[in-house]
Symmetry: C2
Subunit: 341 residues, 2 copies
Amino acid sequence: MKKTEQDEVILLGHGSGGILTHQLIKTVFQDAFENAILDEMLDAALLNLPHGRIAFTTDSFVVDPVFFPGGDIGKLAICGTVNDLAVSGAKPLYISAAFIIEEGFPPSDLRRIVSSMRETALAAEVRVVTGDTKVVGRGSADKIFINTTGIGLVPEGRRLSPRRIQSGDVVIVSGSIGEHGLAILARREGLSFTTPVVSDSTALHRLAEAVLAAGGAGIKCMRDPTRGGLATTLNELAAQSGKGILVQEELLPIRREVAGGCEMLGIDPLYLANEGKLIVVAAPEAAPQVLEAMRSLPEGEAAVQIGRIIEDEPGLVLLETELGATRILTMLEGEPLPRIC
Amino acid sequence: MKKTEQDEVILLGHGSGGILTHQLIKTVFQDAFENAILDEMLDAALLNLPHGRIAFTTDSFVVDPVFFPGGDIGKLAICGTVNDLAVSGAKPLYISAAFIIEEGFPPSDLRRIVSSMRETALAAEVRVVTGDTKVVGRGSADKIFINTTGIGLVPEGRRLSPRRIQSGDVVIVSGSIGEHGLAILARREGLSFTTPVVSDSTALHRLAEAVLAAGGAGIKCMRDPTRGGLATTLNELAAQSGKGILVQEELLPIRREVAGGCEMLGIDPLYLANEGKLIVVAAPEAAPQVLEAMRSLPEGEAAVQIGRIIEDEPGLVLLETELGATRILTMLEGEPLPRIC
């Protein structure tokens, strides 16, 4: 954007559809997301897709604060949608980005967010091809909300579904849990830890492809444990598969600083959001090569088996404690941590 | 939703990703949008698309008030995205719906909005196949915002683009303008007119298909003049085509009550949003059959030619007044009417 007085804050006019909107699109969005499809500036992006099944997913991001250790709302908005496509077995291709901005938001912050989206999209090999900007009056939204919706291509023959889960299958997680949730909470509450906790916000497309390449048809299902944390995602898998899941507490990868921070705050890391972790359910015979493939990538280097699918207790998640006792791990109730993503 | 105490207002927990989110999805969204793809409840909807070009578009809706004469935010959210696909020459197929809800919002209002989305989607022959719900604290959003993102299929060989516009082409509008904008403004300001002004919010997929069937390759480009109104959309067409557009004021279809209301309020109907109007740029030889086809449908019965493309004044829109004088019609400046859609 050209530096003018109007440039100092986002105005209602930037969402009018008129001159200011066009200036904003040209100087902020088109510059950042430069690609020929977006540049057409039509009501819809026109995409030539190869024949095949399409994965289609949407997420709105309302995280507070907008900037946090390890990322920002823009990085989160790209990674979140890329990851929903990747865990569906799709190659992420195209993203739409829709912004709802509070009047008075600093354009410099918007540029920083958009620049972070650009970098994340480049790294994830997706293109932002269409968008929308609305501006609402002061107090009608909190700073900025971003919706991203994504399209990916699912290769022929690939079929991931919780319905394919069978007893004996193993449950793998790609790394340590709870970091995104705790990083947001700590920043919001003004807490600091001796070893800083940083959001794990990462695109998982490469890791998901590596898992599928290594495990083939042995890969039953993948998920990313975001809102509601690992415990909630495992409960979804248990409910959708109609199987039981037995998790061994001693195998759960939780960093010491996360465990400590959670204990101090009286929260359970199993319910904290992750934004760069993959859960894989795989046939037991595929597990060794899947774990090896995951560990060969930085985003999967701490991959570990945390449990297995059992015939008993259909629909439930059981946690076997280090002392050998077993308790039911329920889905998240209430809302310990709003606006985590 | 089952009637419980928790049901009386939307809680932060309804956006947690946990139990309350699942209840809300099951009892409000799945019931309304019933279809097998949504029911899979995966991270992404899996779609089998026929081979071809895809149109992809996104819009967030922040209209205030949420309910207004002639529609509501839900109807608008479906129509808006259906229309962006339709004017791109695509057959609208699939829609994602993402909700940002303010804590305390009445679930009865949410159900009313979702039910309106359901009806509108059925009428427009699109399916809502994936979604997202976030809840933010009181005062962090104003009631409810909805993002819809759509996928449509563009038939082989169809090519609509402002670059195809040539001098001599005619400009057609499907009916009277300014109604949505004035209806919102009147409701917001508590104004009433002798003849009530009602939003024109309508899905344009059928009208757009009729235009393309009647005009064939003679159809150069279509648009729906939403935010910024007819004047702004024509300016976009002029800029993108590099041609001039001459509009004859006496031909502009404006209802008497809209003209009167606008005069009273000191606003120009040419800059008021429309949510169910189509602008068509067509070769002159195609115009008669296109107009006839449009007029055969209720949503196009008042279709009329309002101007033509001229060689002079490239990039500008000229308005020839009833007295024969000509003035430049600029794009919307500033923001007379925020949160119009």
